[in-house]
Every structure is written in C-alpha cells, then in structure tokens.
C-alpha cells in the first residue's frame, strides 16, 4: 500500500473505506435483484474496481464533474449518490435519479456532478471534454474526470477529443479503467501498441497506476486535479484493475475467455477493500470491530433502500412523453 498523503485524516480514510464498501454492497444487492428476477434488464457490476472510482472521486469536489460508463454504479456511488434513488432507478421507479427513464446504463446524478452513465462505449468522451470546455470558458476551476474502459480506447472519438483537449489545455482527466477485458475479449487482442503511449503522442501527460490501491489512485488524482485547476491539463491515467463478475450479470460461464484461477487470484490477492482494510488496521486508523460495524450499517442501509425501491411506484404512464423536450 502506497504512502498516504499527510493531508488525510482519519475521517478521509474511513470515507474511502466506506465508499468502497458501499459500492461492493450496492453491487451485491443489484446482482441479487437480478438473480431473483426483480430487476428489469441486465446490468454490469463494478465489484473489484472500487478503488478506482473511490480513489478518484475522493480527490474531487462536489462541483467537479464526472462522466461514467455502462459499468457505472461505482462511479455514481463514489461521486456521492444515495442508495435509495439508485435502486429506484435500477428498478424503473418514479423516485429514481432519472424517474426510471434511464435505468442502470443511464444513471445520472447531476446534483453531485455525475453527468451520467453511457451505454455507448466511449460515448461520454466528448461530453467530459465539453464539460471541461465549459469550466475553462466560464472561468471556473472545476475539473472533469472521464471514466472509460480499456475497450473504449478503440473508439476514434477518444483521439479526436484528446487532440482538442491538448490543444486547448482543458481541465479534463481521462481515466482508463483497464480491467483486462472488453466483453469477452482480452485487451491485448484489441489494443495495438501502448495505451499510455497513445495519449502521450497527443502531448498529454499519462500515468499508469495500480487500480487496486486506493491510496495510490487517490494520491495521483489529487496531484493531477490540482494541476488541472491551474490550467496544466489535460491528463491521462491508466488504472490497472479487474472486474470480478462477468461482463454483465448474465455472463456466468466465463471459462472460454478467462480462467477461474485468474479470477481467484485477483479476488484473493489484490482485492482493493481487503488490502485497504488491512492497512487501516495495521496503521491503527480503525479496528476490525469498527470496520465490521461500518459494514453492517452499509448493509442495513442497502437492504432498506432495496426494500423501499421494491415497494416504490412506477412512473405514471402519462410520463411517457414528458421530458422529450425541455421547456
């Protein structure tokens, strides 16, 4: 575990732990909703990648913006969303963040600066860059983080907007969550050359970081966010991570594209929550008991939110043609 910044106090560390645990718990519940056929459609689990979203979002202010992906629950929680509105959204209920109209793949939480998940791989890269454009044009010092997967690096849009971000020194950080796979294909098979090198070729400073180490992610992000605020952006981060579940909840038989051994190895030896927990205990920041009780609270919170969402009402059919156009 890399050294923590001196500026962090106990509450900062516990917050990181809490947020990672909240994501894991959220996903366990979402998966359960799927398995028990209570959730409409499919969804993509973030479990295993928690240190990425949390390490980054804990370095951001509420007014900073993020754009998210099809695998977006983690980003949403990390940027400050509530369980209740999230579960309501996943179940298509009126009290969801998007009144049930978006669902898992479009969950957005504008009040906390989450400009939304996106079901087009790479589709949010322009949006994130545009958000940074706004900040620069209006003279705000907000930073935007663009989350995307290794698979999304194949989309040409990324190179178009990185070029402009570099030419115009925009305050945007491109955060590539390299979890080794896009759907059922290994990254090596779809990415020639070097992902970092591609960003660098556009004159963008690029860093690779262990995405299972929340402190390392957080420390790097803090530095880059700070420099973005001073007009030194854009930056590029490649975060090496892993998804525990299948591509989506229905992707159960995975052996044809990755081994159980590989999955076990990441879960047992590189889990971001387990690692951080040991560190917290070893450093005397929290006791096992304190962390257990924190976990229990989160679980109770999640259960209550799930219960609430299951009972909550669907939007009225009259809503179907509301929000096509803004007034």
């Amino acid at each position: 575990m890399s050294a923590a910044k001196k500026t962090h106090n106990t509450e900062d560390f516990l917050q990181m732990y809490r947020q990672m645990a909240r994501i894991r718990t959220f996903e366990d519940n979402a998966n359960q909703l799927y398995l028990s056929a209570k959730m409409p459609g499919l969804t993509h689990m973030y479990s295993g990648e928690e240190a990425v979203a949390v390490g980054i979002c804990e370095a951001l202010r509420m007014t900073d913006k993020i754009t998210s992906t099809h695998r977006g629950h983690g980003h949403c929680v990390a940027k400050g969303a509530d369980f209740k509105e999230m579960f309501c959204e996943l179940l298509g209920k009126e009290e969801g963040y998007c009144r049930g109209k978006g669902g898992s793949m479009h969950i957005a939480d504008q009040s906390n600066g989450n400009l939304g998940a996106n079901a087009i791989v790479g589709g949010s890269m322009g949006i994130a860059t545009g958000s940074a454009f706004t900040a620069k044009m209006l003279g705000k010092d907000d930073v935007t983080v663009c989350f995307f997967g290794d698979g999304a690096t194949a989309q040409g849009l990324m190179y178009e907007v990185m070029n402009m971000a570099a030419l115009w020194s925009l305050p945007v950080i491109y955060a590539c969550e390299n979890n080794g796979y896009s759907e059922y294909t290994r990254t090596e098979e779809i990415a020639a050359g070097s992902i970092l090198g591609r960003a660098q070729a556009f004159g963008i400073e690029a860093h690779q970081v262990d995405g299972q180490d929340v402190l390392a992610v957080n420390a790097l992000t803090e530095k880059l966010v700070d420099r973005c605020r001073k007009g030194e952006g854009p930056f590029f981060m490649e975060l090496m991570t892993y998804r525990y579940h299948g591509h989506h909840v229905g992707d159960i038989n995975r052996e044809y594209y990755r081994s159980k051994q590989e999955e076990r190895d990441w879960k047992e030896n590189r889990d971001p929550i387990i690692r951080f927990r040991s560190w917290l205990v070893a450093e005397g920041i929290a006791t096992e008991a304190e962390l257990d009780s924190l976990n229990a609270d989160i679980r109770a919170d999640a259960s209550a939110a799930v219960e609430y969402a299951l009972q909550a009402k669907y939007p009225d059919v009259s809503e179907v043609d509301m929000h096509v156009y803004a007034a």
Binding site: G92, K93, G100, G103, A119, V320, D321
Partner: protein
C-alpha cells in the same frame, strides 16, 4: 418441416453462404469465440477460423470502413453491428461511402456487403439499446433494407442479401432470436422486393414489418372473431418496396393500417401510407392509418416502455374503428 429459431436460421444462412463462397467473411465485435452476445454466430469460428470470423476492437466506424474497402476489392463482408443503435456510429461509412460508391464511380465499383444488425424495444435496455432505426437507412439511396419477420424469412433474406451486389442492411428483431418457425432443410432464397401476403382478407389490410407482422397477425385473429376479415402483408424489404402487392391489397380492402416499430414520425409508416394514398386514393374508404413507435426515446421503466410500441390490441382497436367508419376527423 423442422422448426428452428431465428438465431439458428441466421447462423445456417451464414454458414451455407460461407461454404459456398470463400470470399464471404464476418467482421464485428465478439463474433468469434463468443459468437456475439446473442450467441447467433456460435460455432462459425470453429468451422471457418478467425480469418473469416473476425473479432474487432470496439470501433464501429473503423470496421464498417474496412468492410467497405474489402467489399470494393473482391470480398463479401457481413458486418455484425451488435445493436441497431450503433448505426449512428457507422452512418458516414455506410451512407456517404458504401451507399454512393457504385453511383459515384459511374458503375465501376461495387460494394457487396451486408450489415447485420437488430432492432426492437421492450427488452429493458433503455434509450441507446432499443431503437429501430431502419427508416434512417431506408432514406438513403443505394442501400437495400431487409426486415425478416420469422426464422424462415431471416434465412432466406440473409442468403439473398449476401449474394446481392449492393450494400444491404438487415434488421433482426432481438426479441425474436428464440422464436421458432418451420425452415426447410433444402436451400431457398427469398427475393428482395416481393411482399408476402400471410393471410388474405377483404375488409382491411394490415401491413407490418419485422415483429409487427406477428402483431398484425394477432390483431387479425381477434378481428376474425368479430367478423372482420383482415389481410396481413409483410413487405419483407422496405427498399426495394413491393408497391404493387400493397396497392393491390389496398384497392381490394379499401382500408389500410401500417404497423412498424420505428418512431412514427418521419419514418416508414409515413412513406408506405403516402404511396398508398397517392396511388390507391380513389379506392380508399378511409384514411390510411399508421401505428409506429411513440416519438419518444425508449424509456427504461417497464411501466413506460411497454406502451411505446404497437400492440395487437391497439392495432385491432384502430382496425375496428376504421371498419366502422369512426375515424372521420371533425372538419
């Protein structure tokens, strides 16, 4: 006759054509070992190898462009576009390049490619994974557009598409992949531009595309019980469109409803309705009616999504009112 699923029918069509013609290949995301997320292509890579069942990075404009160039130089690519919604990403290569190359070159260059993709809502996949965008490509001269309505149709139309010397876009309804239909063991092709009259009738014509054919059939059954005899027609390809068969039916029944899962406005229903109005006007007893999907992005919530698409009930309801002469708009 044996029954197989639409998914198997497409798989068979591809395998047969790939065996017949070594220049046919498949290109797209996770088409090889994974056989696509819908598993439609399972087994093909084992038979034809990764040189002819080509997994690509997630770069739709890129592999679409590669297919155009490959088609221009002597191969017959079948492009696999995972969701019809991603058409928006490949429009330039499809519509500015593939569709126009033959014309712009004065007939010297051909682009014999097939773009296989899908359509259809009510799968709880929300606004970017549920669209039925066939009207968009139907507007672009140079493309042919096929819309299979069953496993039988899917196989026959796919084989014709692969042999066609033009870019063909073929839309499969993703909710029909597991629907079975009788499909002969023997080879057959379904020619483009020949509508299929699934059921004859005298009181009203129901024209449906893709899965809306089933919706029309279900409506026709309900209507039959009420003594209303509906003719059900599947145009099969909307470009080229078999105007003749549609007009003949319209003139016979004098009442027509067109049902399509694309957004209603500026879409397929308007075109077909206009042609019938224009060319069978003096035979019509009532205005041609249209039932498309609502003009809203597809909502995620099941409570909302289900009401955005035409249903047998709504078709039957409109048909009833047409037949009863209830649809005279107030002056």
């Amino acid at each position: 006759m044996r029954k197989i699923t639409l998914s198997q029918a497409v798989n068979e069509a591809l395998a047969e054509e790939m065996r017949r013609d070594p220049t046919v290949f498949i290109i797209g995301e996770d088409v090889a070992e994974a056989g696509t997320p819908f598993k439609v292509l399972s087994g093909l890579v084992e038979e034809f190898g990764t040189q002819r069942v080509v997994d690509t990075p997630i770069a739709e404009p890129g592999f679409m462009g590669i297919a155009v160039g490959a088609a221009m130089t002597g191969t017959r690519p079948v492009v696999d576009l995972m969701f019809g919604d991603f058409l928006f990403l490949v429009m330039d290569q499809l519509c500015n390049q593939a569709a126009k190359t033959h014309y712009m070159s004065g007939g010297k260059l051909n682009v014999p490619l097939v773009l296989r993709t899908n359509m259809g809502a009510t799968r709880r996949s929300a606004a970017q994974h549920s669209q039925s965008l066939h009207a968009l490509v139907a507007h672009v001269p140079g493309l042919k557009i096929a819309m299979p309505s069953s496993a039988y149709e899917a196989k026959g139309l796919m084989k014709t598409a692969i042999r066609d010397n033009n870019p063909v876009v073929i839309f499969e309804d993703k909710l029909m992949y597991n629907d079975k239909a009788g499909v002969p063991e023997e080879e057959y092709l379904i020619p483009f531009g020949q509508a299929n009259v699934l059921q004859e009738g005298v009181d009203i014509t129901l024209i449906g595309t893709s899965s809306m054919v089933q919706v029309c059939q279900a409506a026709a059954e309900v209507l039959a019980k009420e003594g209303i005899s509906a003719e059900v027609i599947d145009p099969r390809t909307i470009v080229p469109l078999d105007e003749e068969t549609l007009l003949k039916s319209a003139k016979k029944t004098s009442r027509v409803i067109i049902v399509d899962e694309g957004h209603q406005s500026y879409g397929v229903t308007g075109e077909i309705a206009s042609r019938i109005n224009e060319k069978a006007f003096y035979h019509l007893d009532a205005p041609v009616l249209r039932l498309g999907a609502m003009d809203v992005p597809v909502p995620f919530s099941p409570a909302l999504e289900d009401i955005t698409v035409p249903t047998p009930e709504r078709v039957a309801d409109q048909a009833r009112r047409l037949v009863r002469g209830e649809l005279i708009h107030a002056a």
